[in-house]
Amino acid sequence: MAEAFALKDCALIAISTGQQAQTLRELRDRIETTNQSCIYYHFWGGLLRPRFDDPEFQNDFAVWARHSIHDKPLAERLALINPTDYEDLEDLRTKVVDIIEERLEESETLPYVRASNNFYFVRSQIVVFDTGRRFYDPMELASLIPRLSVGSIFYHFIDARRRTQLGKDDFTEWLKGFDAGYEPLNKQIATIDPYFTTLVELRGELAEVFARYLGRKDGHDGQPAR
């Protein structure tokens, strides 16, 4: 019998670091030295703050490259970085710096372009709190997913990648603790790309995967998996 799933929630508050960049070189220099939580914020923070739901680019560096430096190749390359591909934030930082340096070397004019709007480095504080809710049965959890706050989705599905040993989400970790194999469900959860989306959409995808799998399982043997 697995342990109970402790449902948590989180809320994010943004903090200005006061650092800014006016040129691409300045951006590179600041990225190299800035606090890790800035890198985290500019890749993931967009999910938890006011943002248009159909963003052209998923991370703030790509948005700035496109709209303030007006360099489409750089914007496209930065936009394609999927932060979940990197072991930790240092690797992610190195990747961003590499892409910027590569582009600085390619272009003769880019190093001299002054941005129409500065890039402002922001970090964040995350407050994690326990909702007090506990789940013992995956069916029970599945039925609640559509009603979870986006903060809970962020904590258990995104933030978990920094906390868990395998760098996966909390649902997968929890399901591993059950005797009855949830492997197929875990595989389906793993196919959900946590990037290039919004938290509301992520919640919908998760709910669907759980419902589809457990519904079928329920139909087969008349009992939810234990």
Binding site: D9, A11, L12, I13, A14, I15, S16, G18, S37, P50, R51, F52, D53, D54, N117, N118, Y120, V122, R123, S124, Q125, I126, V127, V128, F129, D130, T131, G132, R147, L148, S149, V150, G151, V200
Partner: protein, 414 residues
């Protein structure tokens, strides 16, 4: 508690159960905390509007919140208005006499507020008017937070330096956008403002009420109405709006409404109003309306009967009138400045413009392409629902309070 208990339930109908549940959980950590907000006016301006609702909501969530106002003479408001303009980048000199009166006024208010301020766990001081209060509490029990609602991206240095000498003593400050945040020796939190969907300014109105508004202000329901709602303030460029109107009139029989409420701390308003009246001359299709600060239902109705809303500011703190218009499903043509940029997503929820000519071009486009006008209006409303309602604002305040009360790490397990 009966009436207040229903307040959260009312918001739940609009934003959903998950959002309200999250507020309850988060506020559980702060239960019983004494919180005091201080600003300089109970009516007029976005700050007062939001405090009217934020305080009862905090109380319903189990905090012990109150709102106090500092009072001053005409010279005091003259000084703080000049400060406000200087922080927005205007070169203004503050005489020693004005500053002395400012400090004296704050000191007088300090005595009346002492009981609340000394017992507070968290004190929120809004804008420059009461900022100097902290000078009278060099040692304080609670956390003091300065909330800046102004666009301070390019402040006039002399005046900012004066104010900074007060503000730097706070435990933290809050800014509406990262562009506005000024270097200070404490955490600079970023919180965008919000609107209240249940306030008179934003509640749904009957078609009968809307019909009456056409009649009351002599507007023709058969012709397009273009509206800018804002205080009569130079930074809102009302004269530029009239220029845009004239450029559109050649092609469309539009009517222009320029409606503004006065705030008790804005002595400059009348001068700008006179300039606007002169620019409007005798054109019967330009309606310049000076509305009392509490006439929220009229502003609501004017926004709803409009086809397009303008907010052609050259400087803007956040631009809550933009948010209000978007909530009513209207596309907004806004100045490419400050918080307008955060709300008007160019070509999605409206257009960002830099000149009266730019505004005229976009008005003509939207009047010609009605389907675009409708689509942008709907996107605008959804964008506000998810991001700029008071419930999101409240969540960020609560998060910030947990952060300043308990720890300063990046990650707080409460």
């Amino acid at each position: 508690m009966g009436m207040m208990a229903s307040l959260l339930a009312e918001y739940e109908k609009i934003v959903g159960t998950d959002v309200i549940d999250q507020l309850r959980q988060l506020s559980g950590i702060l239960s019983g905390l004494n919180v005091v907000h201080i600003n300089s006016t109970k009516e007029g301006g976005g700050v007062a509007e939001i405090l009217h609702r934020l305080i009862p909501l905090k109380n319903e969530l189990g905090l012990n919140a109150r709102w106090e106002v500092i009072a001053g003479n005409r010279q005091f408001y003259q000084c703080t208005k000049l400060m406000h303009n200087a922080l927005q980048g205007n070169r203004v000199e503050l005489s020693q006499e004005l500053l002395k009166n400012y400090e004296e006024t704050v000191r007088e208010n300090c005595e009346e507020l002492r009981e609340y301020l000394e017992n507070a766990d968290i004190v929120f001081i809004h804008d420059p008017q009461p900022a100097a209060l902290i000078a009278h509490y060099p040692v304080h029990k609670g956390k003091w937070i300065w909330r800046c609602h102004i666009d301070v991206s390019h402040p006039y240095r002399q005046v900012w330096k004066y104010l900074r000498d007060h503000v730097r003593h706070y435990d933290a400050s809050i800014w509406s956008l990262s562009e506005f945040a000024q270097p200070l020796p404490h955490p600079l939190y970023l919180i965008a403002p919000s609107i209240d969907p249940l306030s008179k300014k934003n509640i749904e109105l009957s078609s009968d009420d809307l019909d009456k508004t056409f009649t009351k202000y002599g507007l023709d329901p058969m012709r397009p109405v273009i509206t800018q709602i804002s205080r009569f303030d130079r930074f809102k460029d009302p004269v530029g709006v009239i220029h845009s109107y004239r450029l559109v009139r050649e092609f469309h029989p539009i009517q222009l409404v320029l409606a503004g409420g006065g705030a008790t701390d804005d002595p400059e308003g009348e001068e700008v109003l006179a300039q606007v009246r002169q620019a409007a001359s005798d054109d019967p299709d330009i309606h310049v309306l000076m509305l009392p600060p509490d006439d929220h239902l009229t502003i609501n109705a004017l926004q709803r009967i409009s086809d397009i809303i303008l907010q052609k500011s050259t400087r803007e703190g956040f631009g809550l009138t933009v948010t209000e218009a978007m909530w009513k499903g209207k596309p907004v043509i806004g100045g490419d400045t400050g918080g307008i940029r955060l709300q008007v997503i160019n070509h999605h929820t409206g257009f960002l413009v830099n000149t009266p000519e730019g505004a005229a071009l976009r008005i003509r486009y939207l009047l010609k392409r009605r389907e675009k006008l409708e689509e942008m209006g709907q996107k605008a409303r959804r964008f506000v629902l998810e991001n700029f309602l008071i419930t999101r604002h409240l969540r960020e305040y609560l998060t910030l309070m947990v952060a300043v009360m308990f720890k300063r790490e990046d990650r707080i397990e409460a």
